[in-house]
Amino acid sequence: MKSLRHRLLFAYAMVVLAFLYIPIVVLVLYSFNASRINAQWSGFTLDWYISVFQNRYVLEALYNSLTIGLIAMVVSTILGTMTALALHRYKFRWKGAIHSLVYLPILIPEIVMGLSLLVLFSQLAIPLGKLTVIIAHISFCISFVIIIVLARLEGLGREMEEAAQDLGATPWQTFRYVTFPMISPGVMAGALMAFTLSIDDFVISFFVAGPNSTTLPLYIYGMVKRGVSPEINALSTILILFIFLVTVALVILPERFRNRMGDKKTQRQMPF
């Protein structure tokens, strides 16, 4: 009975996962399509995989997207986690106001946020470029990180931390060895969310980007008028493959390695 339930759950999860990948399969398929426009199947080719590496604009855009995404992710995860910890633990006089401030960036339509940031930057005479895009991305990522980390913290008790402090741990030690390990799934999920939001953002980036800071979404949206080139599909396919190889290597290889070595220390670390 129990195992049937678990198998059903597993099957359901796999169906949802498959749903997420339906369009991905199609886009990979169309990266081999001979036609320049993404409309109809007209024959197999590998040309796009060659030409994408000769397209300096695509490569520049990819480079910009990755660096902006990584910087925005790191900064917003650090700032967001710090804020979530403080908000969870301490009383603030303006708690309601602060919570609203945290939620507002998610509530305000992107176009309004983009335009208002553009107006702000031009009032302050900050030249538009990579810096302004990074600032804008951090501004909307912080809120997502705070909300996710807070969701984690709300389910935690204070007992462990209090115990650590009673045993004489410094605040830093308490954080490093007690708090952080407990909230790390939340931090990781927040970071993933921040990176995902940054790498796929168009509207806000559009308004605050200047010369030399064209990101991949900006480049792709610009191509829409003339038809998105299958080079983008080829590039996406390479990226997906790259991510898969890296994660699989990181997840499966250590497991194999561990099993072969029969590392007892690791086994003891397994929670259940």
């Binding site: 678990h6 990948y21 401030l101 507002l104 305000i108 309004v112 807070l150 993933l192 995902t196």
Partner: protein, 281 residues
């Protein structure tokens, strides 16, 4: 103790400066007037807010709320089990699965949406397949309608639901579940009285993220819905990029934000009341 509070200051300062300051500009703009060529005239007016209450715009608001609500519910029904499944795995596999869930969303949003169009259009993969099997005689109209928009909305927002729920499921106290079983509770009862309440923070965070993001959505109705209907996001977009009526667009945005804040507040209160009832049982 007060030193710890300072942890929040950098992010708050950041948001005050790079978010609230520009937002004040928007608020200010919403009380101004549109000039003949779309420039802004510095003359105070509340007309933009009065205009919001015209039946035409209220209907759009209603349609948008309905769509956002439906999206949130479906995302919850799809997202909770997968989050549950991920949280049951070993740590390494959890990471792998989480990445698997997120990776599709690192691929450009437009490209993914066009892929859906390729699948669903009248000469698309689904229709061709069904026609070849002889199950249908005429291609089905799968695109450019309400269902297609809903599909796009759910697809685009699913990770917003999965991530927070995973985060709170992952810390589920399994001893409580075992205790419930020991006391003879059925699995369904255990789920509704133990698991669900414990993961409430994740559910709240997830549904707020999904609901609010779908309120402002405008690209999906255009691509999947054939731009045949308008949600409030499209309306706002049009004010800035086609009617060039920045003041009205600003007023619409402010109203949307206020409305969302109120809804979130009510949602929070309702859930807290619910939780309070359950705790006292």
């Amino acid at each position: 103790m007060s030193r710890g509070r300072m942890l929040a200051y950098p992010a708050i300062a950041w948001l005050l400066f790079f978010f609230l300051a520009p937002l004040v500009i928007v608020l200010f703009m919403s009380f101004l007037q549109r000039g003949t060529y779309g420039q802004i005239i510095y003359q105070f007016t509340v007309d933009n807010y009065i205009r919001f209450f015209e039946p035409l715009y209220l209907q759009i608001l209603g349609d948008t709320l309905f769509m956002a609500l439906l999206t949130t519910i479906i995302c919850f029904l799809l997202g909770y089990p997968i989050a549950y499944q991920i949280a049951r795995l070993q740590r390494n596999w959890q990471t792998l699965m989480l990445l698997l869930v997120m990776v599709p969303f690192w691929i450009n949003f437009l490209i993914r949406s066009y892929a859906w169009v390729i699948i669903l259009r009248s000469q698309g993969m689904v229709n061709t397949f069904l026609l070849d099997l002889g199950l249908i005689e005429q291609p089905l109209n799968l695109l450019y309608n309400f269902g297609a928009v809903l599909l796009g909305m759910v697809y685009g927002h699913l990770p917003f639901m999965i991530l927070p729920i995973y985060v709170s499921l992952e810390q589920l106290d399994r001893r409580m579940i075992e205790a419930a079983y020991d006391l003879g509770a059925t699995p369904i009862k255990t789920f509704f009285y133990v698991t669900l309440p414990q993961t409430l923070p994740g559910i709240i965070a997830g549904s707020i993220l999904v609901f609010v993001s779908s309120l402002g959505m405008f690209v999906i109705p255009d691509i999947m819905g054939g731009a045949k209907s308008a949600l409030i996001g499209n309306l706002i977009q049009n004010q800035f990029l086609s009617a060039r009526d920045w003041p009205f667009g600003s007023a619409l945005s402010i109203m949307l934000a206020i409305l969302s804040l109120i809804l979130i507040f009510l949602y929070y209160k309702a859930l807290q009341a619910q939780q309070g009832k359950e705790d006292s049982r």
